[in-house]
Amino acid sequence: MTSTALVPEPLPSWRRYFGFSTDAKVIGIQYIVVAFFFFLIAGLLAMIIRGELLTPASDLVDRTVYNGLYTMHGTIMLFLFTFPVLNGLNNLLIPPMIGAPDMAFPRLNAVAFWMVPVFGFLLIASFFVPSGPATSGWWSYPPVSLQNPLGQLINGEFLWVLAVALSGISSILGAVNFVTTILRMRAPGMGFFRMPVFCWTALAAQTLQLIGLPALTGGAVMLLMDLTLGTSFYRPEGGGDPVLYQHFFWFYSHPAVYVIILPAFGIFSELFPVYSRKPLFGYVYVAVASFIIVGLGLVVWVHHIFPSVAQWMRNLFMVTTMLIAVPTGVKVFAWLGTMWRGKIKLTTPMLFCIGGLINFVFAGITGVMLATVPVDIHVSNTYFVVGHFHYVIYGAAVMGIFAAIYHWFPKFTGRMPYEGLGKLHFVLTFLGANLNFLPMHPLGLMGMPRRVSSYDPEFAFWNVLASLGAFLLGVSIIPFLLNMISSWVRGPRANHNPWNAIGLEWLLPSPPPEDNFGDHVPTVISRPYGYGKDEPLVEHQAEIERALTLAEATR
């Protein structure tokens, strides 16, 4: 953090991405690349799962293998793809967006990142221990998760719990860092209501991590003790309560869904204004709605376990769950309001935003159905739920993540991604996701339980469609990888603001210097998203932009 000049640095050597760096921009890219490595692994597991489900019989892999595959698919996708990729975006975007030179605790930041490959290795290693990997689903409900047929100390479930606990610690370290950075390191003049919505949603999501993760981590430690030391927190034969674990687990793991979807909301709120050339409709309300979601998100967890709790809890948690539809609806309507009468440009990031918006609305409707207890009792633990949350996670959150990657790629690599490949990626992703996840809803309504390695023949038709969709999704990742690699290596040079966007990060060279604005942090004088208003975001904006343009012309 010594350079203070406002000139673009030479493109950084690729070697720094392989070492222990405390630069948030390096860590951000490390997070994202590692996350996509695990995304490919977990995606491959999904292909095998869908291969098994092409036919009713259990005929592709052994049932134990199937159970290990679906357990690891969910675990890796959540703990090694979704959370790390979002933390990568947080690292890349938060400091430049608020004008900070780096994260508040750069070394802590690096430690949080390097825990990811460590617990990733533990999880992958569990495929190679004699017991095989954990096979009881990403919920890992006891007592089935405590059954250890080989009786060895080092078993798949042991490694799984260890990895989840480490992931929790890594996420807590990250959350401390993000919250502190946002609260303490904003540019002069950037009050909370001049902060970009992505930072609002990051703050909300990371607050949830701080509140919720201790419950999961504590619950996981008790599971580890039951498994390894013979305690009986959850073992019924020793007087323990297996349902207690479900409360610990969902007290965090429902908010975890908001940890995932809130940043996607932030990305949509950043991108719709840029590609509609209009201010975000109702900025203050959209920003505040994130924290309403946090408050409500903490009191809905029992809706995951309606079939195992008493009736009075069911009605109570149904009402809180239904209320969440209101602040999320506010956000959806705000994006529609932003597009309305705009000048819309269908770039790759915008296409991913629109696709994500439509998928999210669908997921919200099935979410309200799931919130109502009588319907939930019928479809809980069926493919209806699997379809619902894949619409949320893949249909909305991952689409948002792709939108963000295409949108901010030029900023952090200095190169433009290719539009043609990007649009191909979008079309394949949107079709693949819908073909994969829509058929899961009729399956669930018909009564097909989730997590099954075989099923009755009447479910075959929709399962074949879903499997074809999954294979299409697998293909969809090819243009993405081609695009990322080829445009990073030899894509056209990007200027400091290729999308003509408003935001502090677009007043930095592409890629930004290591300490971003250094000592020359501009003073923010207006709200974000001032499209069409002809008022500068910061003091001396014209001079800053002239200097950047000049430097680009002479490079």
Binding site: Y141, Y283, A334, K533
Partner: protein, 313 residues
């Protein structure tokens, strides 16, 4: 944030077009609500019509919301696209307080109305019976029979295992691995698990209850349609979770009485347990997959029944 520019007054032609479009969306939503019944299995319990009514209502409302959002997106993509080479910004509308209040209040009223409807259904379901009663499973109770014996409902003890379902008819000396129920007669199940969590789920009845080791759970329902249905384990229970299914036969009072009578006379024999057979095959084939919990031996029952006959749902 009411600093928006005055919205231009729509002409009467566009108002009529909008009204027609909304009418069309309502019609499609009503049609979807009717279709929704066909996505569900046949109704075979008195709970099913209530649950299905709520689901049809939600499908109708949900279809309308989805079509509405997609219509707005489609409209903006048709009408509000930037011209080629137009790099200018649009009119800076920052918000509209009245609109924001409207789109907070309407969803709030809507979801609370759905919640109210759902609570009504819940209450009715509770009166009908399927409100479970959980109590610790203790030895005294196991010896002393059931409090529920004085009720007119038929008593069935359901024992879930890795991986089989066993049904006992106390006082009748009948046990089976196929669940037989009398049409239109309330039944009280006593759900217990010998090992891990299981889910007692009969899709045609729209009912599901987790079976929790260490607890005995009373659970009531009334079957309303003669036929053969599937009972599926719905809470992941290990290696042969998917194969842990049993058939449920709903039959007339006469058929049920004669089934019980024949069952009581039949000798004990091995009941159905597909997991046991698959495990034996797996052992015979040599090492495959990862280590597994060994399936519990097939329960010794009077009537094994079948799990390969065609089922209605």
């Amino acid at each position: 944030m009411s600093s928006s520019s005055p919205l231009s007054r729509p002409g009467s032609f566009s108002l009529i077009a909008l009204a027609l479009w909304i009418g069309l969306m309502v019609a499609i939503s009503v049609w979807m609500a009717g279709q929704a019944q066909h996505w569900l299995p046949v109704q075979a319990s008195n709970a099913a019509p209530l649950v299905d009514g709520l689901f049809r209502f939600e499908t109708g409302v949900g279809s309308f919301v989805f079509l509405g959002v997609v219509s707005v997106v489609a409209w903006t993509l048709l009408v509000h696209r930037a011209e080629k080479y137009d790099e200018s910004d649009a009119e800076p509308i920052e918000g509209n307080t009245r609109l924001e209040v409207i789109w907070t209040v309407i969803p709030l009223v809507l979801v609370m109305a759905i919640a109210w409807y759902a609570i009504q259904v819940n209450t009715k379901l509770g009166v009908l019976g399927p409100m479970e009663h959980i109590h610790p499973r203790n030895a005294q109770e196991e010896l002393g029979g059931y409090l529920g014996d004085r009720l007119p409902a038929e008593q069935v003890e359901v024992i879930a295992r890795q991986w089989s379902w066993e049904f006992r008819y106390p006082g009748r000396n009948v046990s089976s691995t196929e669940l037989h129920l009398e049409l239109d007669r309330p039944v009280t199940f006593r759900l217990v698990s010998e090992d891990v969590l299981h889910g007692f789920y009969i899709p045609a009845f729209r009912l599901k209850q987790d079976v929790i080791p260490g607890r005995a759970i009373n659970f009531n329902l009334t079957p309303t349609r003669v036929g053969r249905y599937r009972l599926r384990d719905s809470q992941f229970s290990g290696t042969w979770f998917a194969a842990n299914q049993a058939d449920v036969v709903v039959e007339s009072a006469d058929d049920h009485a004669s089934w019980l009578k024949q069952g009581a006379a039949a000798p004990l024999q091995s009941g159905l347990s597909p997991a046991v057979g698959e495990y034996a095959d797996r052992q015979a084939r040599g090492p495959a997959g990862w280590p597994t919990v060994v399936p519990a031996p097939p329960p010794q029952v009077n009537v094994p029944g079948s799990n390969s006959l065609p089922h209605d749902a």
